[in-house]
């Protein structure tokens, strides 16, 4: 029996997401809304990586590079660095397009590689991009090196700037609040794209490659093109997220694009549930919110328990993170919210279990 139809559920969910900032603002304060903004950026990244890792089964450890490309594109074209102040509707698509180009650039030479080998090459690629950003300040200063680029233009559409507080209909919308809506819009768009791709001819081709590349090729799938498409799509999402990040933060530096970030995003995908959009979103939310909650909670808790800080919350955070990873991998190897398929992999169908029992019974007779 279904009480709610699919469209009603979706409408209710979107409404809840729209009201969410007012609730956190009144209960927890602006700080948490800012964390929610970052969670949305990470969800976009995780959804992008999900296409590469979850659907096509290509292990990419340098995914943050595409985020960097998007962010630096926005930063260079919308800051005093070159005195350029291009509008959002040019810079953001351009960043996405460039990231897409880099995706193909990374994909093309790694087409023959699989598994560990691919992971190593992509890891190297991620580092190359970061080191480039770090060193492109001499002989010609492009990226301003390790100092990064600051005073980046806030995100704005026409006259409407997301960097200023606006009053609408008697409600006050702070920049953090406005960014939340903007990011939410983009996240929903990316979820929509992912959902549509998942149940399509292209999605099936990706999954076929993940399952067995030789068989996929024998079935007439042009594995080269389909893999490049996965890299390009994933990178595009990363580029969009990067551009939004630069505009939101107002500052980018190579530090934000370390290997640790790539691994973090991969963890969101794997912990949440590879190949399942809801799982990936959940992974993104948890891995952003929990460490923050921990950072705020661990200090006072220790004070209360021991009367002093025994362990630095920052290092404790990493410890807990590692522990959580191990526990999830032990108890829920397919992720917290696996796709129906993965769930079926781990828990055989009722009918199959029944049938197997019958076979055993037959054999015993």
């Amino acid at each position: 029996m279904k009480l709610l139809t699919q469209p009603t559920k979706i409408a209710a969910l979107i409404l809840a997401l729209l009201i969410f900032p007012f609730i956190t603002n009144s209960l927890l304060g602006q700080g948490w809304l800012r964390i929610a903004d970052f969670a949305l950026l990470y969800i976009m990244l995780a959804l992008g990586l999900n296409i590469v890792v979850g659907y096509a089964g290509l292990l990419d450890l340098g995914y943050i590079a595409f985020f960097a490309v998007g962010a630096y594109t926005y930063a260079l074209l919308g800051s005093p660095q070159f005195g350029l102040h291009w509008p959002l509707w040019i810079v953001l698509p351009l960043g996405a397009l460039l990231a897409c180009g880099f995706g193909v650039l990374l994909g093309a030479p790694t087409l023959r590689l699989r598994g560990d080998y691919l992971a190593v090459v992509t890891l190297g690629f991620g580092e190359i991009i970061r080191i480039f950003m770090n060193n492109l300040n001499a002989p010609v200063n492009i990226t301003n090196g390790p100092q990064g680029i600051s005073m980046i233009d806030p995100l704005s559409i026409g006259e409407f700037s997301f960097g200023k507080t606006h009053d609408l209909l008697g409600l006050t919308f702070t920049p953090v609040h406005l960014h939340y809506y903007l990011f939410l819009g983009f996240t929903l768009l990316i979820i929509f794209v992912s959902l549509r791709l998942q149940d399509s001819r292209i999605g099936r081709a990706w999954m076929a490659i993940r399952e067995d590349e030789v068989a996929a090729s024998a079935m007439g799938i042009n594995t080269r093109n389909v893999k490049l498409l996965a890299f390009a799509m994933g990178a595009t999402f990363g580029g969009i997220s990067g551009g939004l990040f630069a505009g939101f933060q107002g500052f980018v530096s190579p530090e934000s694009f370390s290997l640790m970030e790539s691994i973090m995003i991969l963890c969101m995908v794997v912990l949440g549930g590879m190949g399942n959009i809801s799982g990936v979103v959940l992974g993104g939310v948890l891995l952003v919110i929990l460490p923050e909650a921990f950072r705020h909670g661990a200090g006072p808790l220790q004070q209360a328990l021991f009367g002093k800080i025994v362990l630095d919350p920052e290092s404790l955070r990493m410890l807990m993170f590692g522990l959580a990873l191990i526990l999830v991998m032990l108890w829920r190897p397919a992720g917290l919210w696996p796709s129906t398929q993965r769930r079926r992999e781990l828990m055989p169908d009722e009918s199959v279990a029944h049938q197997e029992q019958e076979t055993v019974y037959d054999a015993a007779k």
Binding site: V193, R196, L197, S200, R201, I202, G203, R204, A205, M207, A208, E211, D212, V214, A215, A216, S217, A218, M219, G220, I221, N222, T223, L229, M233, Q341, R342, R344, E345, P348, D349, S351, V352
Partner: protein, 259 residues
């Protein structure tokens, strides 16, 4: 539609080396449209190597390979699949974690066109195509005789059903030539008999079948013509009766004076 004596596939002087080992040397054969062509030989005779060349998994070192009027050299599997060669694998290679239906739907990939925009916008053409793919997949599932929920994972099917699903997946590519690598390996007599009937139905529908098999009885009863490989060379070719009586074939299988 199919003319009985028209050649579909011609191999002439095909050779393949792995390092110093000549897996195939100077093999020539031709397969007629609409026939069931059997390829037999002792273990290590080069059957699967030949098979992999025909389906684009290996590239040939010498000779030419002509299919349906076109010559192929250094061709990838997917190009040959598009040209109309579909295959199954000796050790079943299904997309284990996809459903039975999805496996067949992947087979339809090569005959459909919908791309990223079709997937995103779901315009009427894309929806129609997707509907058609699903319809065809259901149809093929019945055709090969898998009477199970379509959404069962491929790896949860029984061994015999997995073999059949592989055939269904290959048929979904609308092949002109269906190449089967030991389709009845590991099956019991009843299963073999029903698979034989399926292959005859497939052949009757106008698809040419190439069969590698160890089960000599099946091959003799099913094939229109047979080629025998031994040590990478073709030692005999002809109708089953001729091959059965060929002294070189008897020598290869039972041992004997090496010519």
């Amino acid at each position: 539609m199919t003319q009985p004596n028209e050649t579909l596939l011609t191999l002439s002087g095909v050779g393949k080396h792995f390092g110093g080992l000549a897996a195939l040397s100077d093999v020539s054969l031709h397969i007629q449209r609409g026939e069931i062509y059997g390829l037999i030989g002792p273990n290590g005779a080069g059957k699967t190597t030949l098979f992999n060349i025909i389906t684009g998994l290996y590239q040939l070192d010498q000779g030419t390979f002509n299919f349906d009027g076109n010559t192929y050299r250094h061709c990838k599997s997917h190009v040959l699949a598009k040209a109309g060669i579909a295959r199954t694998f000796q050790n079943i290679r299904l997309f284990a974690n996809m459903t039975a239906l999805e496996n067949i739907m992947v087979g339809c990939h090569v005959r459909t066109r919908s791309g990223v925009w079709g997937a995103l916008l779901r315009h009427s053409a894309a929806r129609k195509e997707e509907h058609e793919i699903a319809r065809r997949a259901h149809e093929l599932l019945c055709y090969v005789g898998i009477h199970r929920p379509a959404h069962i994972l491929a790896k949860n099917l029984s061994y015999g059903e997995q073999r059949r699903l592989e055939i269904a997946r290959a048929l979904a590519t609308n092949p002109k030539l269906l190449a089967l690598d030991e389709p009845v390996a590991g099956m019991n007599a009843t299963e073999t008999e029903s698979l034989k009937a399926l292959l005859q139905t497939i052949c009757a529908s106008g698809i040419t079948v190439l069969l590698i098999e160890h089960d000599v009885k099946l091959i003799m009863g099913l094939c229109d013509r047979i080629a025998v490989l031994d040590y990478g060379k073709k030692i005999a070719e002809g109708i089953p009766e001729e091959v059965r009586r060929n002294p070189a074939v008897i020598a290869a299988y039972l041992g004997g004076e090496v010519a």
